[in-house]
Each structure stands twice: as C-alpha cells, then as structure tokens.
C-alpha cells in the first residue's frame, strides 16, 4: 500500500505579508518558504504509520504543484523521511487546478491513501482535499484528528460537534487532517538531510484544466488600533468604551 501526502509550499507563518502595487500578487521578495504546517503534520503521521505498519505501507510519497523554486521545500519533506516526490511544474493558481493535477499523480501511480492538510496557511481555501476526492471519485473524510492503522485496517477519528467519532474506511480514500493528527512536525535527522538529494523528485507537466478562478485584488487587514488604557477604578469609562467604541457589549 502506498501513501501520498499533498504538500503546499507556503510563506513562513511569521512572514510580513505584502502585495505588489496593484494588490494583485503576493510580493515574494525576502519571503521564506516552508511546508504548509498542516501538510507537515500529515507527513509526520504518514511516516509514523509506515514505520509501524510492519511493511504493509511500502512507501510514503509527497506531491507538490509548483515551479522549481518549490524544490527546497520538497527536499525538506524528503529529508524528514518521504521516500520520493512528485512535482507538477506549474504555478499553483487555485484549488481546482491543484486538485486536478494531483488527481493525475494518484491515478498514474495507484496511491491508496492520500493525506491533505485541512487548509493551506496562505489562501486558507480548505478545498483541495475534497476536490481531489471528487476528481478521483473516491471517499474523503474531513476533520480527521487521529489516524491509526491496526492490523492493516484504517481507523480514523474525526471531530464532530461536541465530541469525536471513530470510523473505519476501505482504501482508496482522501483523509483531510487537522489538529491532533500528530503533535509536532518531525525534525529532519542529519542523515536525512544528507540523503534528501539522492531521493527522486519526479517532475511532470500539468494537464490542461479550465481556468475557473481569477484573483481581482487582495486587501490587508486593518492595522491594529492603538491600545487605550483605562483606570482600573473607572469601570464606567471601560463599559462606555466597550459599548460605544468597540461595540462588543
């Protein structure tokens, strides 16, 4: 059985986000790119499952839709322990496009378990995992916070309103994972870093997909307002500010 982990290449979460003059494109100068944090947790869990599967999981691969400048991020995934990688040589323009490209990789390589993080930390679309399952006509399970693989059977826990549900599922399927899937992303071992360049990155050209999305403009959030200090004895002033200015009570 083979696992595929979808990998987004996103700006480091501490990046100060800026857009170009017309607010149409992200200004990428000085941006440090990292594995999308949810995908990194997914990869960590996928590797743990492989290691504990007694050989039932033969390999864990990663897939990224991106240009060559995404390869350092892909190689980090290889350093962490992924066996090989697929890169579709195209700008990851929107979720539909990305899902269509990844679907081709799944179909051509017979992956049976596909991990997707619940969202990317840049566009927060939460769409690729579900779209991918639709393209492949296979089930998807969302909000998965635990993935176990006892005796070669998949057991998932997903968060539901007020609690958790446990489900069993047959392969193939897409699992859309969130908080809890693993505690911390795995830190690459030194040997892994040295081995990363020896592992294959299979680069392919994108399949033709209709362009369904066009970005008009982006807006940055408003700057934080100045903090107002209130005398702790003066509760009337505090209530007045909360009611009339902040409008929260």
């Amino acid at each position: 059985m083979k696992i595929l982990v979808c990998l987004g290449n996103v700006p480091d979460t501490t990046t100060k986000i800026r857009f170009d003059g017309e607010m149409k494109n992200l200004a990428t100068e000085g941006v440090q790119w990292v594995i999308n944090p949810w995908d990194e947790l997914a990869l960590t869990r996928a590797l743990e499952i492989k290691e504990g599967s007694g050989g039932k999981i033969e390999k864990v691969s990663v897939v990224n839709v991106g240009k060559a400048d995404a390869e350092p991020t892909i190689r980090k995934a290889l350093a962490i322990g992924a066996d090989d990688a697929y890169r579709i040589d195209a700008d990851p323009s929107d979720a539909y496009f990305i899902a269509a490209q990844i679907a081709e990789v799944v179909k051509n390589n017979n992956f049976e378990i596909i991990f997707a993080g619940k969202e990317s930390s840049d566009f927060n679309g939460s769409a690729v995992g579900s779209m991918l399952a639709e393209f492949l006509d296979i089930p998807s399970v969302s909000a998965v916070s635990a993935f176990d693989f006892p005796d070669g059977k998949v057991v998932l826990k997903r968060d539901i309103d007020g609690g958790k549900e446990t489900i069993g599922i047959d392969t193939p399927f897409v699992t859309i994972v969130q908080k809890g899937i693993s505690i911390n992303p795995r830190i690459p071992a030194m040997r892994g870093i040295m081995m990363a360049r020896t592992k294959p990155i299979n680069v392919s050209q994108p399949v033709a997909v209709d362009t369904l999305v066009e970005y008009e403009t982006f807006e940055l959030p408003e700057a934080k307002a100045e903090c107002k200090m209130v005398d702790p004895e003066n509760t009337d002033a505090l209530v007045d500010l909360l009611h009339n200015e902040a409008k929260v009570i």
């Binding site: 350092p72 190689r75 980090k76 350093a79 911390n184 830190i187 690459p188 071992a189 030194m190 040997r191 870093i193 040295m194 990363a196 360049r197």
Partner: protein
C-alpha cells in the same frame, strides 16, 4: 567569495533551531537552576544524528561539513549553550580526534558508539596545575608492556559523569617533556576511575563538570593514539579545531542575547515610546550587531577553511578570542537593555551572560589565543 549557505546547511540550521526552540527552551531555566543534565534532549539529539555530525557515514556518522556543524552549534547555543558544549566537546575533540588521528581499528571500535550518541565523549587535558600550560602534565601513563597504567587527576572535565569514552592526555616519559606525552582512549567505567563532586559553576550549569581521578587504571596498549609521544601534538591539533566549536558556541550565545534585546527594546516603552527609539539603546543594538556579524564571519571562514583542508590554526584563535570577548560584551549589553528584567532569570539574558563568561576561559583563554595569534604574526 560566496557567502550563501547551501540548501543542506540551511536545512541543518533550521533543524537545530527547531529542536532548540521546541525541546531545549521550555526547561532551560529549570535545568540551569538545578544543574540538571539534559538527559532526554541528549537522547533526542543522538537520534537526530547530532553526535556524529561530521563523522564519516561508514562509521555511522552523518558526514556533514564543518560549516553545518558550526551552524548547528550556534543555533543550539542561542537557547542552551550547556547542551551546545556537550556537543562541542564530543564532536570537535573526541569524535574528530579519533577519526582524524586514530588507526582503523580504533575508528571501527569507537566511532560508531560515539556517532550514534550511545556513548558521549569527554576530553581530559586540564589538570589542577596544568590549564593553559598544557605541557605540565602530572597525570602519568606508565608503559607496562601490554598496557599503560594511568595515575593522576584531571580537572574541569565536561560530561565527566555522563560520558562513556574518555580521551585522556598523560605523561609517559617526563624526561622527554611534552614529547613524552601520549593520548589514550579510555572506557569511562574502567576500574580505578573516580569522580570528584559536581562542580557548582557560574553558567553552563546543566552540563556536568567534575574532576576525574585515575588510580592504577589499566589502558590497553592499542588504545594509544598515534606513535609514542604524539599526545601533546595531538591535543594541540584538536584544540585548533575545538576553538571553532567554542567560537560558534560563543557567537550563538551572543546571538541569543541580541535577539532577545532587539525584541524587548521594540516592546518596552519608556518616556512615551519604545526604548528602541532612544538612541542610547539603538546604538547599543548597532554595536552588538556589528560584533555579531564580524564574529559569524570569522567562525564561518574558519569552518570553510577546515572543509577545504586549509590551515586555520591562527584564524581559529582569532575567532575564539573575538567571539568569546564579543559574547561577553553583547550579553552584558543585552542585560543592560533589559534593565531590571535583565537581572532576573525569566528573561534568559542573565543566564546567557553567565554562559558567555566561560567561553573566554575554556579551551584556551582569550589571553592564550592572543599568544597564539601574536606568535604566528611574529614568527620568522
């Protein structure tokens, strides 16, 4: 001249930073206060390959270059230099020493244990009356035919209790002075080895430091490194490289204090504005940044020369002296910028200042480095 780090070096640096922030930072203040060895973290570092960073993969190491090693030490020292010194002594002195100067049997026997971190290495050179003057070794290694018999006391031994492998420098033939000195690989649990009490140090408190007493300790002849009398030259060669590690550690300590000073000065307000807007503070930060940059460039250049197999002996003395003295200055200023908060443990900079001090002392004091530098300048 290319100042760019490779993808592997950047990944290594990030891995060390992630580890330090996630695993060392949460309990660094408590371990320092309680002088508690980082047992859990050392095990994790071993699993990640930090105990054989530069060791050849054929002996179980990771085979990374010296610059990667320096970057790792720097990142770890930013958070917890006590853990960095455990790694520095193990990698720069013991593993490097055996790999570079040991014979094939010694490498096969000891390097896999060291590189995997199953056994930590300790380097035993200093004595109660032989610190900077390493030629005055009183510890004796009497040649008994099949074995050597070790007797004497070593001082200030990093990881003395937690180590599994000792690299011991001792005098075999006092008549030959420093040419009678040998180096030996010694099992820490050999009969006749006893430890003095845990030293209560100013800083680096969670690394364990002891004196080590040898009483009729038998060391197999095959555990001697190099030809008879090679020990002093061996120790000096190791310290040339060891200085790079300590310089990296010092600049890491300085960088940790600097980062905290920058952050604090952008948050703390006085006289109606963040203190970073006061020129008195801003100029301190500028001075600190220049020293950091200079120090890093010296250390990285040394590591690059080492990787290129070029001579780095004088430059590593420069790096050690400059980085250690700068670390002391930068951490002191970081405390000053923090004001009263800098004087309490919660803000870390007082600990970093205590840790910086010893980098001016161990593996060759700043004064000894100046002797090395000036002698190299003035020799014919």
């Amino acid at each position: 001249m290319d100042f760019e780090l490779t993808e592997e070096q950047l990944m290594m640096k990030q891995a060390a930073r992630d580890f330090a922030e996630r695993e060392l930072l949460p309990d660094v203040i408590e371990r320092d206060a309680e002088a508690r060895f980082p047992v859990r973290q050392v095990k994790m570092l071993a699993e990640l390959g930090f105990f054989g960073i530069s060791v050849d993969p054929q002996y179980g190491g990771s085979g990374m270059d010296a610059l990667s090693y320096v970057l790792a030490l720097e990142e770890i020292a930013k958070i917890d230099s006590a853990t960095a010194v455990i790694l520095a002594v193990h990698n720069s002195l013991v593993a490097y020493g055996i790999e570079t100067y040991g014979n094939e049997d010694q490498k096969q026997k000891f390097l896999p244990e060291l590189a995997s971190g199953n056994k930590i290495g300790a380097f035993l050179l200093s004595e109660p009356e032989a610190g900077s003057d390493a030629t005055s070794q009183k510890t004796t290694a009497e040649d008994k035919g099949d074995y050597y018999l070790l007797n004497g006391t070593k001082n200030w031994i990093t990881s003395a209790d937690n180590a599994g492998i000792y690299l011991v420098i001792a005098q075999t033939d006092p008549d030959k002075k420093h040419k009678g000195i040998n180096a030996f690989i010694v099992d820490r649990h050999s009969e006749g080895i006893s430890l003095g009490p845990h030293e209560e140090k100013m800083g680096m408190r969670s690394s364990d430091t002891h004196s080590v007493m040898f009483t009729d300790v038998k060391v197999p002849k095959e555990n001697r490194i190099g030809e008879d009398g090679f020990g002093f030259k061996f120790a000096m060669k190791l310290l040339d490289g060891g200085r790079i590690g300590i310089a990296a550690q010092a600049i890491g300590i300085a960088g940790g204090a600097f980062d905290r000073a920058v952050q604090y000065s952008k948050e703390r307000k006085a006289f109606g504005t963040e203190i970073a807007n006061h020129q008195a503070v801003a100029f301190k930060l500028a001075d600190m940044a220049v020293k950091l940059e200079n120090g890093r460039n010296l250390v990285y250049k040394c590591a690059t020369l080492k990787d290129q197999k070029k001579d780095f002996s004088t430059l590593s003395a420069m790096a050690k002296q400059y980085c250690a003295d700068s670390a002391m200055e930068i951490t002191t200023e970081a405390v000053q910028i923090h004001g009263g908060y800098g004087y309490v443990k919660e803000y870390h900079v007082e600990r970093l200042m205590r840790e910086a001090k010893v980098t001016q002392i161990y593996e060759g004091t700043s004064e000894i480095q100046k002797i090395v530098i000036s002698r190299s300048l003035l020799k014919d």
